[in-house]
């Protein structure tokens, strides 16, 4: 026990004097969590709160185009920037290149007449199907083309573009429906649709209630912090490979290891000490990053991290995540011949395992062929366990199914390490 205590003390001293290693283990992950959460939160707000600039060229002089503009404005997603009527398409495109806006919508000069014609055509069809005769069918056969053009900047991602597309279609649908309704009402009653009825029919959409599924019955909507902080904490834990992995290689290749091999103590004790020391480091990392999420995020205009109700469960999950991370780092350190190998392989492999584990793209969004590989990444099980606590409001019992594979993977890594030590005659 005295030898172990002395070795842990030595490892802690070496660690505390490695300023770059400390910066990598604590500074970088904190920065990463802050940056990623800020970005994700901005994306969330872009879609849900902020308005996207939309250049609007209304070349129509009719009433329906004004209704269309009002409908788009009502969506609340766009900051409308109306451009002079005479401005050509190329001028709009130039403004988009200048990043004045990422979207531009053109309502052509015959927009109102086109919509009106479509409405009359649909009305006529409807009346015919009711066995009634339409008042005016002369223009009903004239047009069936899309009346609007949307220019978009290529930097816009497809998911966001689809969201814009859906919103604009919804506005267009609203305008068209209103016209059809007015035409139908006029054809049957020979008078204008009352405004009150129009509002009743068109503006009274049935709401959709969104409820997050949780194990504890809470209805807290998960925010960007709930998603990002646990994910990047795991990333930080596994990134100890840079300090620990290269530290083991440094020790192996330095004279100190030669001396250790001549002393009456097994090198396994040194590895046990390193595991305990760095397990402590990973726990401090988790505590630090969670604390930042809880207390610092609100001051940075980021949503505060809500810690799970089961704090003991959070401790246990963090402990096993840390143990698995440390096991992996030791294994890399034992097999690597040089510090460059340990750093290069360690860093790249963690990024790959993080990607496979669902830290960068959600696991459910990955192709079916990846579903088995995902399960081989320890980071996946760490994330599953953390999400079970942070997002689903679960307890330790609920996430046990994710901890078991994590333990199995850690044990396999440990066995591989012992095999490597024997193969290299280090023990």
């Amino acid at each position: 026990m005295f030898k172990l205590r002395a070795t842990i003390l030595k490892d802690l001293r070496v660690l505390l004097r490695d300023k770059i290693g400390l910066a990598l283990m604590f500074g970088m992950p904190v920065l990463l969590v802050l940056v990623i959460t800020k970005i994700q939160n901005s994306t969330f707000e872009l879609v849900n709160k902020n308005k996207v600039a939309l250049l609007l060229a209304n070349r129509d002089t009719g009433k329906i185009s004004m209704e269309m503009i009002a409908a788009i404005d009502k969506i609340g997603m766009f900051k409308l920037v109306e451009v002079p009527r005479g401005q050509a398409d190329q001028q709009l495109i130039d403004r988009m290149h200048a990043k004045d806006a990422l979207l531009a919508l053109i309502l052509p000069k015959d927009f109102s007449s086109r919509i009106s014609a479509r409405a009359k055509k649909i009305t006529a069809k409807a009346l015919n199907s009711f066995g009634l005769e339409a008042n005016d069918t002369s223009t009903a056969k004239t047009t069936n083309t899309d009346p609007v053009t949307l220019y978009y900047h290529p930097v816009l991602q497809e998911a966001f573009r689809r969201s814009v597309d859906g919103a604009l279609h919804s506005a267009l649908q609203m305008v068209e429906s209103k016209q059809v309704l007015q035409q139908l009402y006029f054809s049957i009653n020979e008078k204008q649709l009352p405004v009150a009825m129009e509002n009743e029919l068109l503006n009274n959409q049935s709401p959709i209630t969104e409820i997050p599924v949780s194990r504890d019955g809470s209805r807290t909507v998960p925010n960007a912090s709930q998603h990002n902080v646990p994910a990047w904490t795991i990333f930080a834990m596994f990134f100890v490979v840079l300090s620990l992995g290269s530290g083991i290689v440094r020790e192996k290749t330095s004279g100190s290891f030669t001396r250790l091999k001549t002393l009456p103590t097994n090198y396994l004790l040194a590895l046990l000490s390193k595991q305990l020391t760095y397990l402590f480091v990973t726990m401090v990392q988790a505590a630090l990053i969670f604390s930042i999420g809880v207390w610092l995020f609100p001051y940075l205009n980021l949503p505060a991290l809500n810690l799970p109700a089961d704090l003991f469960g959070l401790f246990i999950v963090s402990l096993f995540c840390g143990w698995c991370a440390v096991s992996y780092a030791v294994c890399v350190g034992v097999f690597a011949e040089t510090q460059e190998q340990a750093n290069g392989f360690g860093a790249v492999s963690i990024v790959i395992l993080a990607a496979l584990g669902g830290l960068m793209v959600p696991a459910f969004a990955m192709p079916d062929s990846f579903q088995l590989i995902i399960k081989l990444s320890p980071l996946h099980w760490c994330l599953e366990a953390y999400y079970g606590l942070f997002l689903e409001g679960g307890t330790l019992q609920d996430v046990f199914a994710s901890i078991i594979p994590l333990i199995v993977i850690a044990i396999l890594i440990q066995l591989l390490t012992v095999w490597g030590l024997k193969r290299k005659k280090l023990i």
Partner: protein, 248 residues
């Protein structure tokens, strides 16, 4: 009572992947309490022999006894009988001399009290007391060599292996180290030393062995050998027995 510090019997060793045996049926006895020097040209096998005696390499054939105790692959208890001062600086440069001695002392099997006592004693003896709490990485080459030596002797071993212990140091440090080693030997520690510094070796060693191509050419009291071969110094004896041609 065992009178030999090291007893090598019929030792056979081949490096993995090599077909030629480096040592075959090698025998060597180093008397307890002696100041033994092992010399030879580059590639002669002296470092390999030192590594076999300290357990850094394992042998397939024969036996090595340290103070009568057999060296075994999986039993490290014999390791507490000797100390080792490698040619490379073998400690943690980011730690202070005190912190290094605390760690290596614990690994050598000492108690907290013993470590403290020996640390104070050694730092004083080797002139490191003023810098005891400063990181070793900021030390001069000579100071680092003294730290390297202090760690090797912290547990007061009966046998001390020294591989080029004074390489790259100034005259003052060399003198201090050699003086300390002689004092250590007077207290009963067997010194097993290897170096290319033959004048230093002549000053330190009372018994020597010359090794070449994996074989012990001569092994005797230094003065007897010098007289027997009609040489004034170790360098002349060395060249006389191993030749003047390059070996690497």
């Amino acid at each position: 009572m065992n009178n030999s510090a090291v007893n090598i019997e019929n030792l056979g060793f081949t490096y993995p992947g090599q077909s030629t045996e480096l040592f075959s049926g090698l025998n060597l006895t180093i008397p307890a309490g002696s100041r033994f020097g092992l010399f030879g040209p580059n590639g002669a096998g002296k470092t390999t022999l030192m590594n076999l005696m300290t357990g850094l390499l394992s042998f397939e054939q024969g036996n090595i006894l340290l103070a009568g105790n057999e060296m075994k692959k999986k039993d490290r208890s014999v390791n507490k009988l000797f100390g080792f001062v490698p040619q490379d600086l073998s400690f943690y440069q980011e730690l202070t001399p005190v912190e290094n001695l605390q760690f290596f002392g614990a690994w050598s099997g000492l108690t907290t009290h013993e470590i403290k006592q020996r640390t104070d004693e050694l730092l004083q003896l080797l002139g490191l007391n003023d810098v005891r709490n400063k990181p070793v990485e900021k030390f001069s080459g000579g100071m680092k060599r003294r730290v390297n030596l202090a760690i090797g002797v912290i547990h007061q071993p009966g046998i001390l292996f020294l591989d080029e212990p004074t390489v790259g140091v100034d005259v003052q440090t060399r003198h201090a180290i050699i003086h300390y080693l002689k004092e250590l030997n007077k207290k009963g520690t067997t010194l097993i030393y290897t170096s290319h510094q033959l004048s230093e070796a002549e000053d330190l060693c009372d018994t020597i062995a010359l090794i070449d191509e994996g074989k012990i050419i001569v092994h005797d009291d230094l003065n007897h050998l010098l007289a027997a071969y009609g040489q004034n110094g170790l360098e002349g004896l060395f060249l006389n027995l191993t030749g003047k041609h390059y070996r690497d």
